[in-house]
């Protein structure tokens, strides 16, 4: 196995109360995070949520306002990037346009004053591993986007870093190459056992590639969990609404005597003690159309997604009640045109309940 020859050694990463403030703006409020050795963790969130800030803090580009960063139990937050032993791939790839791909990939080794023949061999090996061994004499502008991305990855890996940081590495690729690159990065990462952090705004990418996903929003870490837990047990309404496609239905209402009451007369039995305002989350794929269902409504919109159709069902279109729209994902064969009266079966749907502050009620 060629990759093993690169002698990578993943280390655990720990963030302790890490925070960053730009002027008066809190780009990142104190975050605690433990990443295990060899794990691939995705930082997921909308733009401006603090995920890239966190990555650049780990890389050593930014100095934290507060908190510590540990690589393998060693505090590194005061170190210059070159002493942190990380490799990084940027969204724009950030290749040096005046160097050939070879010189680009060799740049970290040149700085480390690696012996010329050793450097040549390592560059060649990494390049071949990534399938760009034949084009090393070209300049970045003379190769395709996918090849540039591989060159950037090669440059990040050639110095055998302890941690690999990937800042939206796939977002500039064509959809087809992106899927392929996704699998390839994941395979490489597994083979090498290098601790990796992937920043992305694409939840499909995060869920597909990562061992665990950290969801950020407005500088806060909202949840850090496996893709499975993120989907089945979102920690709050933000994660519930952000993770999953199409997004979860979130119905505001109250819990009274073990029953959730929402708009449009939506009422469900829930296994919760205590009364108060609450939000009920129902995944569109969990709701069934059922002729004998309790919750009557009318299809407002039908969006064909190929294998499935996404229905927007208007509940309680009666005059007195405020209306409520629920998204329902049905198989294409079950799809009905807009205007059809339907009733919904919510009995089999997982009920995600959140309290007045939006936190999950266990």
């Amino acid at each position: 196995m060629r990759a093993a020859a690169l002698e990578l050694k993943g280390v655990p990463v720990a963030l302790r109360g890490l925070a960053k403030r730009f002027g008066t703006v809190d780009a990142l409020t104190p975050v605690d995070l433990d990443i295990e050795a060899g794990e691939l963790v995705a930082f997921l969130g909308p733009s401006g949520c603090g995920k890239t800030t966190t990555l650049l803090l780990i890389a050593g580009i930014y100095r934290p306002t507060a908190g510590q960063i540990y690589f393998d139990e060693t505090q590194v937050d005061h170190l210059h990037p070159r002493d942190r032993d990380v490799g990084m791939v940027f969204q724009s790839y950030a290749l040096y346009p005046h160097f050939t791909l070879f010189d680009n990939i060799a740049f970290p080794l040149t700085i480390q004053r690696t012996a010329r023949n050793v450097a040549r061999e390592r560059v060649t090996r990494v390049a071949e591993m990534l399938g760009i061994g034949e084009i090393l004499e070209r300049r970045p502008s003379q190769v395709s986007g996918g090849q540039q991305q591989r060159a950037a990855l090669a440059r990040a890996l050639v110095k055998q870093p302890r941690i690999l940081l990937l800042d939206e590495p796939l977002s500039n690729l064509d959809a087809q190459i992106r899927l392929q690159a996704r699998g390839e990065i994941r395979r490489l990462q597994r083979q090498m056992g290098i601790t990796s952090i992937l920043v992305t705004h694409d939840q499909a990418e995060a869920l597909a590639m990562a061992d665990r996903v950290a969801v950020f929003c407005q500088g806060r870490l909202e949840q850090f969990a496996t893709p499975h837990d993120l989907y089945h047990a979102p920690a709050n309404t933000f994660v519930a609404g952000f993770v999953g496609h199409p997004p979860m239905n979130l119905v505001e209402g109250r819990i009274e005597n073990g029953r959730f009451r929402g708009a449009a007369g939506l009422e469900l039995e829930v296994d919760v003690e205590g009364d108060g305002p609450a939000t009920l989350g129902l995944r569109p794929e969990d709701i069934r159309l059922d002729a004998g269902g309790v919750h009557a409504g009318e299809v407002a919109i039908a969006e064909a997604l190929g294998r499935e159709t996404l229905l927007t069902v208007e509940l309680g279109s009666g005059l007195q009640l405020p209306g409520l729209q629920l998204k329902v994902l049905v198989a294409e064969t079950e799809a009905v045109p807009p205007g059809t009266a339907v009733s919904l079966d919510l009995a089999g749907a997982a009920r995600h309940l959140f309290d007045g502050e939006g936190r999950r009620i266990p």
Binding site: L56, A59, G60, I61, H80, P81, R82, V86, G87, M88, F90, Q91, S92, Y93, A94, L95, Y96, P97, H98, F107, P108, I111, Q112, P140, S141, A152, R155, A156, K159, L165
Partner: protein
């Protein structure tokens, strides 16, 4: 196709019209310097090289022209080199580093640009005398460089501003120091700007008169513009044939440098760099 060509003909005629008087001036210069007498643009009395005698013999008590040429090359080359070196470092720091008073410094540089150099002539004179640099090439080179700095800094700052931050961050993660980034990444990518500024300041220095004239006394360190002025010194005896020949000779290096560096100078006006 037809229309396209006709438009080019029109453009050509306009350009010709505008440049015609200037071209005529140079034609006159060439004719006058190589003929015994010229009436209007009509050479009379056959051509001769008498006016070019300064090339092989000193004129009066003036230094040999080759000494003057050498001095001028040192002067213009020195200014060009210094302006590029110092502006590049200053511009990089201003463009890429965050330090106290950065905004104010940038503003001050701009204000300095607004001052005509002449208004500082006397003050500069005292400074040079104090530094014992009066009447030396080094002294004028330094003064000239100082006056060109604002332009240089602003110009190169524009070039450095265009470099992507990602690239700089990548270099930092790759382990480079800021110095290495400056020399190996930023400078090579700003090369068009460096060349443009170098050529531009060379040409400005080549044509500069008032500073060298004020700060140079002995003919040992004369440069071209002073030499030329000395020929016009006393009007009664001005030898116009000689003057034109020297003038033409003086122009040649500037023309050569301009032709060689034309493409970089154009870039300067468009600004920015494309890898």
């Amino acid at each position: 196709m037809e229309v396209f060509q006709r438009r080019w003909v029109g453009t050509f005629i306009v350009i010709l019209g505008v440049t015609f008087p200037i071209a005529l001036g140079y034609l006159w210069l060439v004719l006058t310097s190589t003929n015994r007498e010229v009436h209007g643009l009509w050479p009379i009395g056959g051509w001769e090289l008498q006016n070019w005698r300064f090339l092989w013999e000193p004129i009066g008590r003036r230094p040999m022209i080759w000494q003057v040429l050498l001095n001028t090359l040192i002067f213009a080359g020195g200014v060009s080199l210094l302006v590029v070196t110092v502006s590049a470092m200053a511009a990089y720091a201003i463009s890429r580093m965050n330090f106290k008073g950065r905004g104010m410094f940038l503003g001050l540089v701009l204000v300095l640009h607004a001052f005509p150099a002449v208004s500082l002539l006397i003050a500069t004179f005292y400074v040079l005398v104090m530094l014992r640099l009066f009447d030396s090439l080094l002294g004028v080179v330094l003064v000239m460089t100082a006056f060109m700095m604002p332009l240089g800094i602003w110009l190169l700052k524009g070039f450095f501003d265009n470099l992507s931050w990602d690239m700089e961050m990548a270099a930092l993660v790759d382990g480079a120091s800021r110095f290495r980034i400056f020399f190996q990444i930023a400078l090579p990518l700003a090369k068009p700007g460096l060349f443009a500024l170098g050529i531009f300041s060379f040409l400005i220095a080549w044509g500069e008169f008032i500073l060298p004239y004020t700060f140079i006394a002995s003919s040992r360190v004369w440069i071209f513009s002073i030499y030329l002025e000395s020929l016009m010194g006393d009007l009664s005896a001005t030898d116009f044939g000689l003057l034109t020949a020297v003038g033409l000779f003086y122009t040649l290096p500037a023309v050569i440098v301009f032709l060689l560096g034309q493409k970089y100078l154009l870039q300067m006006y468009y600004g920015g760099s494309k890898g």
